[in-house]
Point group: D2
Chain length 144, copies 4
């Protein structure tokens, strides 16, 4: 458990330095081995024309959920950088929060392949899948 | 020229409704037939860990630049929706502003394929390509 | 069951017209609602430098598995066309056969989002995931 | 020039080991610094349902054109492996040959980002863009 706590802390620290995640009101809500969940509650100022979550929010938290999922499996002295990702938008993202669940598909020495699904959660707690993301992440020595 | 102005207006209107573009401080700086340029000046609160632009900003404005490039070629009674995009991060995005240039590769009846390049611009005006995006956009009847 | 048989037949017909699938020795081995499985046995002439399956084979059958998965859910008078796909190579594809399993993530009126995983199967029947594909498919009126 | 010749030879050698490229009848027709062109003449057995080139052919030669473009810039003791690619199909690939032109966008120490365009060439020599590919390539020590 302590190890997992260490990872959670490490992710929280990294997250805290990412201005844009604060700006979006995003927070890490779950971390496991090769997994990470990020949520962002609805706000008018991150909406799209028709008052649903803007795709950029799904992209941002999907990418981070995948990246942090990779970080949970990376050596302690390395950080992770997104090489690329691809995102498909599946449905309009209506709801009171958006949840991204990242997962590692394969972990190599330098490269990870991850995926993330992004769901919109209604007031009743119902989930609608609204984006699917597939991603390549590289590890790099930590800048300290 | 008036037609182009109409397009510019249409894009500005759409843009104004996108809370997240305001939040990022993004603005449309050029529009042409099948082309659109969007810029966002640097701010601490949209930065990444190491104080460069967060990838999510490149993704957000790259996607919009491609989408609005498509909108310039879409029928007047239709809007555009991103089906999917793929983004490669080419270099750290240092600089005082980030510029995304979107361009239509092929325009179909319902689907457009677009690309966008995102460059970071230094104080001296030098440009560093930092992301390349390839995208599918669909047209849909305007919600009015 | 008869309906499923109809779908299987429809896919087999479409498959038979695709010269390249014959050339690769690929065959459809399973079809279900929103699912399709395609296999190709190893041969020297579809190998890569180091004598494993060439990535192009994984791409080809992954794409077809996703496309036919979509076809199982498409109206009878429509066929499917790949709009785009993205493939990550996860591991070298050693084995005596390559199996692609396609699955529909969301089915819209005109667009489907699908995914496919490609695994290499060893003589002992062990599976190694070697590629992950995410795809957009469009339906179109059948050319007859 | 001799260096370029060396690169051309290196690519031809790698190509010769790729059974599938022979199977498709593909050949490398141009190589430059950070660039590679691959062609494949039309044959019935690599066609798609409606008698145009199958998308798998465009994917296969687009991927190789990008990969070999990267190889021209890689250290001599390293080979290149495709990490992932994304391909958009722009138009039906009618014509008597298919030509893929690969180009390096950025060359890093271990990772390259490349793109390739695939065009169909008519009997009159007219070119129709039919696919656009964006790709990540990694270098690895040569297996000898």
């Amino acid at each position: 458990m302590s190890e997992q706590d260490g990872t959670f802390e490490r992710i929280r620290d990294s997250f805290a330095k990412q201005g844009i995640m604060r700006l979006l009101g995003a927070k890490v809500t779950e971390v496991g081995e090769g997994r990470c969940q990020i949520e962002v509650p609805f706000r008018d100022d991150i909406s799209q024309q028709q008052r649903y979550f803007h795709g950029a929010v799904a992209g941002a938290i999907g990418d981070r959920a995948g990246g942090y999922a990779a970080l949970t499996l990376a050596p302690e002295d390395r950080e992770v950088l997104t090489v690329e990702y691809k995102i498909n938008f599946l449905a309009p993202a209506w709801g009171h929060k958006l949840v991204a669940r990242g997962e590692v598909l394969t972990a190599g020495r330098r490269l990870f392949v991850c995926k993330a699904e992004v769901v919109a959660v209604s007031d009743e707690g119902e989930e609608t899948p609204c984006a699917a993301l597939q991603q390549t992440v590289a590890t790099a020595p930590t800048n300290k």
